[in-house]
Amino acid sequence: MKKKINAFLSEIRPELDFSESSNFIEEGMLDSFDIVQLVVSLDEEFGISIDGLDILPENFSSVESISQLLIKNGVLK
């Protein structure tokens, strides 16, 4: 799952190194439109629909928080 998340992040912002970041949002690496792109990619890849109420910056601040969001939406580790 984390491999896929990293792949999508690199696809959306290829110029950035996400492994160096402790918080994607606070460090300005992802904006709201990046998050929308990521949600669409994750929905398609895992066959889910991430709840609109969960599309909040804090749920996209790290690979770990994104993983937790996917688990909440029924994706197995």
Binding site: I12, S32, F33, Q37, V40, S49, D51, G52, I55, P57
Partner: protein, 355 residues
């Protein structure tokens, strides 16, 4: 606020769109973002073409053009109109009310109720509610609801958040008394604490437009706009819609004792495809029952999108068939409103171009 109406019906819907069409691809260079990223957004959000007015065209021009079309085609008679409601956030002037200007230019009778309502994206449902209230009067038998906006003039050309989705247009809906007792269920909600989420800060009496308010500034996301422009906190709007609208729809259907499966179409306000798909998922309805093709073809013209999603997707079908429709609008105010009603064999249901 739950509302219920009896013995009322919609008998015709007309959308009036400016002929001038702008393509998203032609404006990409105006935005402070990579071309690749912006093109991905085009697909996800449904940004494509939008209709905008030519400089100088007003809300009253669009409405008068549509009304004259109906008169010329004998689809509406001047003397039958007992009330004229205009829902707009872009009136011709602060005063007088634009509905009065329209009444005068069309030479409608003086024995008529005219009013402007300042509402945006929930304005179609709110306008219908007002029409139904008026039809409770003995002497009011036919109401014309005008929805019109020209907000493209208030969006910065360097604002990727707003510019690609905003279109202009008008819609005319005829509402009448009905001998059949079909119950119409409605719901209206308001949260003025979110008034700054969608706002044009300058240009009113609180902050008149000046050279200072026209000064362009870049926000943290790279959008460039001034205080004279439309400002939308997109994240807040998205979360408000996802939080409140599904709840409102479920409550509305509970009150009406109606299942989602019984509804033919969910005709919702059209800000972008992504938001509509997430709403459909959350409410639990298939995408084909919630059309999301207005923003990509015409743009989002505030309260005009619900009548347009009906005229564009159902059109002539509504001249002979009947459909159970659930409508919902949501946006500036904050305001959100919904309605469950049957649309049956309309006299007209079409889109025309303003010339």
């Amino acid at each position: 606020m739950n509302l219920k109406f009896h013995n009322k019906k919609i008998t015709g819907i007309l959308t009036v769109l400016p002929e001038n069409e702008v393509n998203f691809d032609d404006e990409i260079d105006n935005y402070n973002f990579s071309k690749g990223q912006t093109m991905k957004l085009k697909l996800i959000m449904g940004y494509n073409k939008r209709r905008v007015i030519k400089k100088g065209t007003t809300v009253s021009d669009l409405c008068i053009f549509g009304m004259n079309y109906l008169f010329e085609k004998n689809l509406l008679k001047k003397d039958d109109i007992d009330a004229l409601i205009l829902v707009t956030t872009s009136p011709d002037h602060f005063m007088p009310p634009t509905s009065h200007i329209i009444q005068g230019k069309l030479d409608l009778k003086q024995d008529i109720v005219c009013m402007d309502i300042n509402q945006g994206c929930s304005g179609y449902v709110i306008g219908l509610n007002q029409a139904f209230f008026l039809l409770e009067q003995d002497e009011i038998n036919k109401v014309v609801l005008l929805n019109a906006d020209i907000m493209s003039t208030k969006v910065s050309k360097n604002d990727r958040n707003n510019r690609p989705q905003i279109g202009d247009g008008a819609a005319i809906t005829i509402i009448e008394k009905d001998s059949a007792d079909n119950t119409i269920y409605g719901c209206v909600k308001t949260d003025g604490k979110g008034a700054d989420v969608l706002i044009i800060p300058a240009g009113g009496f609180k902050l008149p437009s000046t050279p200072e308010t026209a000064e362009l500034k870049e926000d943290s996301a790279g959008n460039v706009r001034s205080l004279d422009h439309l400002i939308m906190k997109g994240d807040d709007v998205f979360n408000f819609v996802q939080r409140e609208v599904p709840k409102m729809i479920n409550d509305l259907l509970d009150k009406a004792n109606c299942s989602k499966e019984e509804i033919d179409y969910f005709m919702f306000h059209q800000p972008n495809k992504f938001m509509l798909k997430k709403l459909a998922d959350k409410i639990g309805v298939p995408y084909e029952k919630m059309p999301n093709n207005v923003v990509e073809n015409f743009g989002n013209a505030n309260s005009v999108t619900i009548p347009t999603v009906i005229t564009y997707n159902l059109g002539k079908k509504l001249l002979k068939d009947s459909f159970l429709i659930c409508m919902a609008g949501y946006g500036v105010g904050l305001s959100w409103a919904s309605m469950l009603l049957s649309l049956e064999k309309l006299t007209f249901c079409e889109i025309i171009n303003y010339k």
